[in-house]
Point group: C2
Chain length 286, copies 2
Amino acid sequence: MTYCVALRLDAGLVFLSDSRTNAGVDHVGTARKMSVYEVPGERVMVLMSAGNLSIAQSVRQLVSTPGAGPNLWNARNMYEAAQVIGNAVRTVHAREGDTLERFGIDFNVSLLFGGQIGREPPRLFQIYSAGNFIESTNENTYFQIGEAKYGKPIIDRVINSHSSLDEGAKCALISMDSTLRSNVSVGLPLDLLQYETDALRTGHFVTIDESNEYFNMIRRSWGKQLKRVFEGIENPVWFDAENIEPNVLSLAEARNQSQPLRVVRPTDQATTRQDAASAPDDSQAN
Amino acid sequence: MTYCVALRLDAGLVFLSDSRTNAGVDHVGTARKMSVYEVPGERVMVLMSAGNLSIAQSVRQLVSTPGAGPNLWNARNMYEAAQVIGNAVRTVHAREGDTLERFGIDFNVSLLFGGQIGREPPRLFQIYSAGNFIESTNENTYFQIGEAKYGKPIIDRVINSHSSLDEGAKCALISMDSTLRSNVSVGLPLDLLQYETDALRTGHFVTIDESNEYFNMIRRSWGKQLKRVFEGIENPVWFDAENIEPNVLSLAEARNQSQPLRVVRPTDQATTRQDAASAPDDSQAN
């Protein structure tokens, strides 16, 4: 599997991808999933992929060796460029889809594609297996592909479009750390790229491996501090005793209405067995 | 969808379920997903379900109205009781599977089942659509069903088998809060049940709705404190300047090897277009 996340902030774009690829658990490898299409001063575009690696690589190959017509290098805006990617997905589907289906393999690829062309503000798209795509809006400032769910809550809680690029990078790395811990199918090294609005050239980029000081600091301190916050939150107070006011989980007046769905033991013989070896001594209490 | 989580701690068992059920986005309802089978002093068992509600309800019906042979009320241990549930899943599959398949509906149900019978320690099982099941071990102290991924990282980080029942309840509620925030298909009210090892009767139980003081405190303060921890973590230092030692994301000596995968612009004509309306002024720089 894969985990890639891209943020579209006022300050620019942040892209982060892992590099784990596998076809079944016995065949785990490393493949970089982020590629950069750049004409400094004119356009910067970043493509990240998840799903079937052979499909993703074919899409990359197609958009990197354009024929006639619109392509990433002559697209007039990011919408046109996203169409180029979507059309490449459709071309690969036309070529490979039937054969893959005969082998029981889903045509499964998903792509994140963002960047800036000329004076148009930076834009970010998520492109699906059918070649259709959606665009990030101010209300929806990020997209994820692959193993997206583990790392979603932290982004939902701390990022909005006013966050800085460094905050975006920090949050993306925490989101990745949560995913790495909960899912073995996502792995180092990571590719992290920041693009600053209107720079029209690639900003900070780093490949992060086990020795990266900053990511190791995040891995150590995020978990530790999360644990400290967890310990700092009061345990529930189950009964609203007289002197305890806050944090009551179960109020006396509500407790009568708050009952589990109990299934009553039927009274017929089917529910008893003479040979119940481990039946406790006090079972006749019922 | 659904989110249910169960923890098997040395101190006992914690069960938490949401109550959102839906068949497509236009048909969202509420159904309780936790049921309790209890003979005080002898046995306590709790069943939670996710997946197709009609299948889950049929399974519940079957195990609640036992015929001859082993059932939840006469099972000698939790393994036998889990087999009763697994067999009920298989009975429903034999009855419904073909018809559902003809309507293109997967036979999809997953169950968490835990409790204690007699002197055997508490046990926890996850039961699959095929009626097979796995058991929680000391290394794997919890199971989740339904929308499990959003709420997994926090459990991985703070819970182990030595955690107290109240810590377990607190963590389960934080895990549920993260899931509720990231996924609209999970919803209140929640059912929370604690079972204390060797009590052989249901422990604390509460149904949590929007007015629950403790859960609201968690919702407010967890997000707020997470944000504070996030802000407290240093932003990355992109360049290892002389006086800045820690938190360097990109070391000078590594920077030369750390380059994005750049796709070079082909030199043929296909990549230029005369009518490029938004081509920036400095495009001839390349």
